[in-house]
């Protein structure tokens, strides 16, 4: 069996080639895709703020005019360090969640693969060098789902990222005596330096190098063509085809019972009131993101507007409900992930209507709901739930009217959902 897996892939006939090109094969789970692009965002933010923090002539490694630009963007230098720490903490939080819950399914198999270097991986590095530097016609040795170069970079990242996080926490929260913080700084700096060295090759290969470009789109959609997998990740292709070592599909979890869900939601609502003094809400997210977009075109008009100006505040997106909306998106994705549900594009509808009709109805419903939230000043989350729990009169009237309107509409438009 082993010999069979290690053997070279054979040239394809044009028919086989066409066939493989049209077939898609799953390369990355949606969680990996999200994590990858989240990482990109974090690395950009942290590299910029981190570089701008080091301005001493003894240690600086980017010219002064560049740090001046970042200073200008952030206003005060204290904001730079706050951003750096804030983003870093969130990054660590996400990565720890990933490591804890994805250990068995993602992290462990990945680590096992990247730290297990075979002769093929070393041959691949030679072949790649010949291809890029000497412009030779090459035939790649069979590779796992990570090729030799990717493995090398992944090793650096897998070792250095925990180092970066630990030393970062030591510095940011003074976890050790000053004598050791001094070392934490330079270890932090050195570890980032090592990753950055690999980063430009990583970006070059993914973005600009045509033979690898399908891998780049694979990191967006999660899928690559079988043809690409056959050429670039032969061992991975074989395993997929033969179903070898494929991790077992986890049983999707059932939804919570409504009573447990209600109590959980009640506890979340209580903590929202206890921690901040505000309840839950969702429609404010839409109102403020809309204003932010409109404000980008005509800030003065929006600020002076008798209704929208009220929602502008200091800055419309620097707002409780907007951040709650971001958190809500994150919580949803986490819940989907931990419930072993799959992300899938879909349209849900009643039996009697078509997909297009469903979408049209959905838009109309959205318009009515959006408009109604502005009249009532809130939606089911803020009025019915948050207002209901503290027995606000408007909250209860809203809820009763909602059910009245809903049952009336459902009675008239029976065909929508039956």
């Amino acid at each position: 069996m082993r010999n069979e897996i290690l053997e070279q892939y054979l040239p394809l006939t044009p028919e086989e080639k066409e066939e493989l090109k049209n077939k898609k094969i799953k390369k990355h789970h949606v969680a990996t895709v999200f994590l990858h692009w989240f990482n990109l965002f974090v690395w950009i933010t942290e590299l910029i703020t981190g570089a701008a923090l080091i301005v001493s002539i003894n240690y600086r490694f980017i010219p002064k005019f560049l740090t001046d630009i970042v200073d200008g963007v952030y206003g005060t230098r204290a904001n730079i360090i706050k951003t750096h720490i804030f983003v870093g903490v969130i990054w660590a939080f996400v990565l720890i969640l990933y490591a804890l819950f994805g250990w068995r399914r993602y992290l462990k198999p990945t680590l096992k693969q990247i730290f297990f270097i075979t002769k093929d991986d070393i041959d691949w590095l030679k072949t790649k060098f010949e291809e890029v530097a000497l412009n030779k016609k090459v035939h790649y040795p069979p590779q796992d789902s990570y090729n030799g170069g990717q493995k090398l970079f992944a090793q650096v990242v897998a070792i250095m990222v925990p180092v970066i996080i630990v030393t970062g926490f030591i510095m940011a929260f003074h976890l050790l005596p000053p004598a050791l913080i001094r070392w934490a700084i330079i270890i932090h700096f050195g570890a980032v330096g090592l990753v950055v060295m690999g980063l430009s090759v990583h970006i070059y290969m993914a973005l600009l190098y045509p033979p690898e470009q399908e891998g780049f789109f694979g990191m967006i959609t999660g899928y690559i063509s079988e043809y690409f997998a056959y050429h670039h990740h032969y061992k991975f292709w074989r395993k997929k085809k033969k179903g070898l070592d494929a991790p077992p599909e986890l049983e999707p979890k059932k939804d919570w019972g409504p009573i447990f869900a209600g109590i959980f939601l009640g506890v979340v609502l209580f903590f929202s009131y206890y921690l901040t003094g505000f309840g839950l809400g969702a429609s404010g997210f839409f109102q403020r993101t809309l204003i932010a977009v409109l404000g980008a075109f005509a800030p003065e008009a929006v600020k002076a507007h008798p209704y929208m100006g009220h929602y502008w505040g200091v800055y419309p997106l620097w707002n409780f409900l907007v951040f709650m909306g971001f958190g809500l998106v994150g919580g949803t994705l986490a819940a989907m992930f931990f419930a072993h549900h799959k992300f899938r594009f879909r349209i849900e509808r009643g039996k009697n209507i078509t997909d297009i009709q469903r979408l049209v109805l959905s838009v109309i419903g959205g318009i009515i709901v959006g408009f109604a939230t502005r009249i009532a000043g809130g939606c089911t989350s803020s009025q019915a739930l948050s207002g209901g729990a503290v027995f606000s009169p408007s909250g209860w009237i809203f809820m009763l009217a909602l059910f009245a309107g809903g049952y009336l509409a459902a009675f008239i438009f029976r065909r929508f959902w039956k």
């Binding site: 809309l290 507007h305 209704y307 620097w318 919580g331 318009i367 027995f391 809903g406």
Partner: protein, 196 residues
């Protein structure tokens, strides 16, 4: 520590944003695990085949109400410092009625549409598009058409406790009784209509 912590301890706005992020996280988690990523399930409450929406809302109201009452009674929470909606009764009535109709048409409310959209539902994305259009219509037409529509029927009391002068816990008990009485009924109704 006495809450609401943000107001009493004078935390920064940035901290509030972080809290919002965390609270929103669990809010989204709860909505997803309740099954509210599915418009079919959400619309079920109006077509009598799935009362999950009703049960979750009332379960949430009673449990959150109990916790708030308990913590403010033992002095852990200053009830007066919580922020509530101002009471515009007529606006809430009109808004709620329209909202119900829109809910049946679209099968979502704003929070659940966000939940459903990020899990890949095109109908939720269409609904969100609609929400933006609806809000946009309001925002643009506010000055010359809808001004004041959101401020109808104002009363100064912000809670039913003030309005009717009865203790908080009595209202919670009433809500709890409603839950105990109606849940078995809706479960029967649910069963009957599920098969159709």
């Amino acid at each position: 520590m006495i809450g609401p912590l943000y107001k009493i301890l004078g935390w920064s706005h940035g901290t509030l944003m972080l809290l919002a992020l965390i609270i929103g996280f669990f809010f989204g988690y709860a909505l997803y695990r309740s099954g509210f990523y599915s418009s079919k399930k959400l619309a079920g409450v109006f077509y009598l085949y799935d009362f999950a929406v009703y049960k979750v809302i009332f379960g949430g109201i009673v449990s959150a109400g109990l916790l708030i009452w308990l913590s403010s009674t033992i002095g852990l929470l200053k009830f007066d410092m919580l922020t509530f909606h101002p009471s515009y009764l007529l606006s809430s009535l009109i808004g709620g009625f329209l909202f119900g109709i829109g809910f049946v048409f679209g099968g979502f409310c704003p929070g659940t549409s966000l939940v459903s959209a990020v899990t890949g539902s095109f109908d939720a994305m269409a609904f969100i598009l609609g929400i933006y259009v609806g809000i946009g219509i309001w925002d643009i037409g506010y000055s010359w058409l809808f001004k004041g529509l959101n401020h109808l029927g104002k009363i100064k009391e912000k809670t039913l406790m003030e309005l009717w002068n009865i203790p908080y816990i009595v209202l919670i008990i009433i809500a709890f009784v409603i839950v105990v009485v109606t849940f078995p009924i809706v479960m029967k109704v649910e069963k009957k209509f599920k098969d159709e």
